[in-house]
C-alpha cells in the first residue's frame, strides 16, 4: 500500500468514527466499526481510544497515530445507519476505499434531518400522546399538543442562537411550565402536573441515558461517565426550569 492510499485509509477510519460519535452512536460500536474498517484495509494491529469528546486512532506498525476531536453532538440516527452501511460494504469488499471515503464525505456534508416544522409537529403529537399514556383527560390533549410544540421550538431556537445546551433546555422547560400554568389558571385545562410532564417529554435526553448505560456496561467507563454527566445536566436543566415556574405558583396569580 502506498503512502497516499494509506493516509486516505486512516482518514476514512477516523472520519467514520467521528461521524458516528457526533450522531450519538454507542462507543463500542464506534470502536468496532473503526477496527473492522482498518482490518479490511490491511492495517494490522490497529487500535482506537474513543471518548465522547475525541477519538485517538492508531493504525498500527510504523504508521502515524492520529486524533480527531468531537465538538458538536446531535442525535441523528440516519447518519449512524449510513456510516454503518458504508463500513459493511467496505469490509465485504463491495466498495473500494476511494468510493467509501467519497461516500463518508457526502454523509459528513449532508444534513438528512427532517424539516424543522415536521419535527415540531412530531414533538407536539408526541406530547399529546404522552398525555394519554400518563392517564390525562382527553380535553387536555390540545394543551399538551401546543405547549409541547412551543417548548420544543423555544429549546431548539435558543440552542441555535446561544449554543449552550443547558440554557436552551432550561428556557424551553420554563416556557412549558409557564404555558401549562397559564392554561390551567385560565380555567381551560385541568391536571397541571400531567400537562407539564407530557410536554417536557420531547426534551428528555433518551439517547444519552441509554448510551451511558450501554457504555458503562461494556466497559467504556470514560465515555459512559461523560455521557451520564451530560444526561444528568440536561435532566437538571429541565427540572430547574419547571421548578422556577412552580416556585412562583403561589404568588398572586
Amino acid at each position: 500500500m502506498n503512502d497516499a492510499r494509506e493516509e486516505m485509509g486512516i482518514d476514512a477510519c477516523l472520519l467514520a468514527g467521528r461521524l458516528m460519535m457526533e450522531a450519538g452512536a454507542e462507543t463500542y460500536r464506534v470502536d468496532d466499526t473503526m477496527t473492522r474498517m482498518a482490518a479490511s484495509l490491511d492495517m494490522d494491529g490497529a487500535d482506537s481510544f474513543t471518548t465522547s469528546t475525541g477519538i485517538i486512532f492508531s493504525p498500527g506498525g510504523q504508521r502515524r497515530v492520529k486524533l480527531t476531536s468531537i465538538r458538536k453532538r446531535a442525535t441523528n440516527l440516519e447518519k449512524i445507519a449510513r456510516v454503518n452501511a458504508i463500513s459493511r460494504l467496505l469490509s465485504s469488499g463491495d466498495m473500494t476505499l476511494e468510493e467509501a471515503y467519497g461516500e463518508l464525505r457526502k454523509v459528513e456534508r449532508g444534513n438528512f434531518m427532517f424539516p424543522f416544522p415536521l419535527q415540531v409537529l412530531a414533538a407536539a403529537v408526541a406530547s399529546a400522546s404522552f398525555l394519554v399514556l400518563f392517564g390525562g383527560d382527553w380535553q387536555n390533549m390540545l394543551f399538551a399538543f401546543f405547549v409541547g410544540g412551543i417548548g420544543f421550538v423555544v429549546s431548539e431556537k435558543f440552542h441555535e442562537k446561544t449554543r449552550v445546551k443547558f440554557f436552551s433546555e432550561f428556557t424551553g422547560s420554563a416556557v412549558i411550565g409557564l404555558l401549562s400554568l397559564a392554561s390551567v389558571r385560565a380555567g381551560l385545562g385541568s391536571q397541571l402536573d400531567i400537562i407539564i410532564i407530557a410536554s417536557v417529554m420531547p426534551l428528555v435526553p433518551g439517547l444519552l441515558i441509554t448510551n451511558a448505560i450501554r457504555d458503562l456496561m461494556s466497559g467504556h467507563f470514560m465515555a459512559g461517565i461523560s455521557k451520564g454527566a451530560e444526561a444528568f445536566l440536561t435532566a437538571f436543566a429541565i427540572g430547574s426550569g419547571i421548578a422556577l415556574i412552580l416556585s412562583f405558583q403561589g404568588v398572586g396569580m
Binding site: 440516519e78 449512524i80 408526541a126 404522552f130 433518551g206
Partner: protein
C-alpha cells in the same frame, strides 16, 4: 379497550420520537412498533401481573424493547440503537422525576426522597432489562453460528 388506546398512542409517540431523533425514513414505523410493544408489556405486567409494581414492569418493558429491537437489527442489518432509542422513551420515569422535583420545591423532603428512590430503581431496572436482553440474544446467536 384501554390496551387498544394505549397501544395506538404509544405507537404514535414512538414514531414521532423517531422523527425527532431523525431515524431513517423507512424505519419509522418499526420504531413505533418497538415502542408500542415495550409500553404494552410494561402496562400489562404492571396492572395484571405485578399489582402496580413499576420497577419490575419497567424491567420487562425494557427487556421486550431490546429483544424486538435486536430482531429488527438482525433482519435489516442496521444498528440496534435505531430501534431501541425511541422505544425506551415511554418507559422513562418522567412523572416520578417531576414529583421528586415538585416535592423538593414544596420542602416535602421526605416524600421527595421516596420518589427519588423510585426514579433510581426504575432507571436501574430499565438498564438491566436492556443489558440482559442483549446478553441473552448474543448467547442464542453465538450458539446458532457455532452449530453451523
Amino acid at each position: 379497550m384501554t390496551f387498544v388506546i394505549h397501544g395506538f398512542f404509544s405507537f404514535l409517540a414512538s414514531t414521532m420520537f423517531g422523527i425527532i431523533f431523525n431515524s431513517p425514513r423507512n424505519r419509522l414505523l418499526h420504531c413505533g412498533f418497538v415502542g408500542a410493544v415495550g409500553w404494552l408489556v410494561y402496562l400489562a405486567s404492571r396492572d395484571l401481573l405485578l399489582d402496580g409494581d413499576a420497577v419490575k414492569a419497567s424491567f420487562l418493558g425494557a427487556f421486550a424493547v431490546a429483544i424486538v429491537a435486536h430482531l429488527f437489527s438482525k433482519r435489516y442489518r442496521t444498528p440496534m440503537i435505531i430501534f431501541s432509542v425511541a422505544g425506551i422513551i415511554p418507559l422513562v420515569p418522567g412523572g416520578k422525576a417531576y414529583n421528586t422535583m415538585r416535592n423538593v420545591m414544596e420542602k416535602h423532603y421526605d416524600e421527595a426522597t421516596i420518589y427519588a428512590m423510585e426514579v433510581l430503581m426504575i432507571s436501574g431496572s430499565i438498564a438491566m432489562g436492556l443489558v440482559f436482553a442483549e446478553v441473552i440474544i448474543q448467547l442464542i446467536f453465538k450458539k446458532r453460528t457455532a452449530a453451523k
